[in-house]
Amino acid sequence: MNQYLKYIFSPIIILLIYFFFPFSIFLSGNETTFVCVILLCFVVEYFIEKAKNGEEIYMRPIAAIKAMEEAVGRATEMGKPVLYVPGISSLDQIDTISGLTILGHVAGMTAEYDASLHVPVCVPIVMETAKETCKESYLKKGRPDLYRDDMVHYVTDDQFAYAAGVNGIMLREKPAAVFFQGKFYAESLILAETGNSIGAIQIAGTGSSSQIPFFVTACDYTLIGEEFYAASAYLSGSPEMLGSIKGQDYVKVGCMILILIVFISSILNGYGFIDFDISSLFRTNIIK
């Protein structure tokens, strides 16, 4: 138990320094964000430590993640390629980075199964990163001979020209499995519907909340919200990574409880039973 005490006292000390430090070394207006980030990081770190110490971590099965290997296996059996679309944003978006981390796992699967992988990209810097990711995955699986330099290639920077290019690839090559993992905008439905029309098994994942309904409608499986960010950790299977997802889930439970408290106290405040408006604590400087 003592070894976990640092996860209670460390954030308290950091927060005390943050709020009561005599000199103005911290930017004002970011208090809520700071508290949230510190608490989340320490909760995640606590569960990582627990997982490292051998505690069994239960993860609820996520159908889309389970289906990834099946999709690659299906493509291998059918002798058709696997198409991986990492979105249309650059590396400054966390969605693209998440998409590329998942690409690492998918490339590992295609290397293992000897399936053909095709990754058309929209942004040159993403192309270079995706190439390195695939190359390392093939190397790690002991199949560097299967890696081809043209499996990751640049199409165009333009949103709809890219959609047209990827649609063309889908219609000509008829991939058996299509992955949409990254940041998507209006082209999401065009891509997903074309994939649907060729009968490919489609697995999508995005953090763009406005595109999730389109993917849910047109794809076989969709990683919604935080599932998308957890996918890589889930696929790695390492206790350390699974512990971090567990921590994230506990923070989510905390958020639910907090929402309930704010909801009840806001009602009480609205009817004049209490004077303090608790929701004022959660206003950040994001909207000025």
Binding site: Y154, R172, E226, C255
Partner: protein, 267 residues
């Protein structure tokens, strides 16, 4: 060593960016807000050349080896070369090279206005047809959730067109009654009884509502109902997803900047 250096850079820059958001130290804040983003733009700019080289290599190889569909590569390369010529060599207008890119009358501008934009607009317009086919699949009544989606979708569509304003309260009420009976239809063993109940409700309920002076309630105005659907259940659902995304983003970033998430480097 190469990989260790990459991990070190990821961790160092990650923490530096994080501190830049909270620590009041102007050189650090300037670095995060200006320099780092400029560095990223410079690196992206150089990567654009790599993209172009990759595009040329891929399509030239395709043509040289006459791989499947190699003829499309000729069109791609032709488009690429034509735009290079119109951008860097041939002007076609009276203004200098450079400003000619936005000058009405230059060959580049003509190509942009008459070929590039209409092609982009065509792709965007396809979205309308894809929305229709996707909605058809989503609205097919398979289970309770799909039925709920269909009902709310229909109300949204009716509520957002001008004709929705013209629907009187009693017709909205009749629609609700019909929907209610449609949902309960399986529970009725005798269909005659169901039909009788339905007709009775359709005939009597509007009179009761009118008599009780409840017909001015918002629920009987479809435009107001659709606004409620958008403002309350849809917003609640999307906010739940947004909270999940925010937590996922922080946890994922934390995994990356602490060097635990290494899949991007092939580990």
């Amino acid at each position: 060593m190469k990989r260790q250096l990459a991990y070190f850079l990821v961790i160092f820059i990650g923490f530096l960016t994080l501190f830049g958001h909270f620590i009041n130290y102007s050189p650090l804040n300037n670095f995060i807000d200006n320099d780092a983003t400029q560095w990223f733009d410079i690196i992206s700019g150089f990567a654009a050349f790599l993209g172009v080289i990759n595009l040329l290599q891929l399509h030239l190889n395709k043509i040289a080896n006459k791989r499947d569909n190699w003829r499309y590569s000729i069109i791609t390369l032709a488009g690429f070369i034509i735009m290079i010529i119109f951008g860097f060599i041939y002007n076609g207008s009276s203004v200098a090279m450079g400003p000619h890119l936005k000058e009405d009358g230059s060959a580049f501008y003509w190509m942009f206005q008459n070929i590039y934009l209409p092609l982009g607009a065509t792709m965007f317009a396809l979205l309308a047809f894809f929305v229709a086919s996707a909605s058809y699949r989503a609205f097919k009544i398979r289970n309770f959730e799909a039925t709920l989606l269909l009902i709310s979708g229909v109300f949204l569509m009716i509520g957002r067109v001008p004709v929705g304003q013209l629907i009187p309260w009693w017709m909205a009420l009749e629609i609700y009654i019909c929907l209610f009976f449609a949902l309960l239809a399986n529970r009725f063993e005798e269909k005659k009884k169901m039909l009788f109940s339905l007709v009775l409700c359709i005939a009597v309920l509007p009179l009761i509502i009118y008599y009780l002076n409840l017909h001015n309630l918002s629920i009987f105005k479809i435009p107001e109902l659709q606004e409620w659907i958008m403002d309350v259940p849809a917003t609640a659902g999307s906010r739940a997803i947004m909270i999940g995304i925010a937590l996922g983003t922080i946890a994922q970033s934390y995994r990356i900047i602490t060097g635990r998430e290494r899949s991007i480097l092939g580990d």
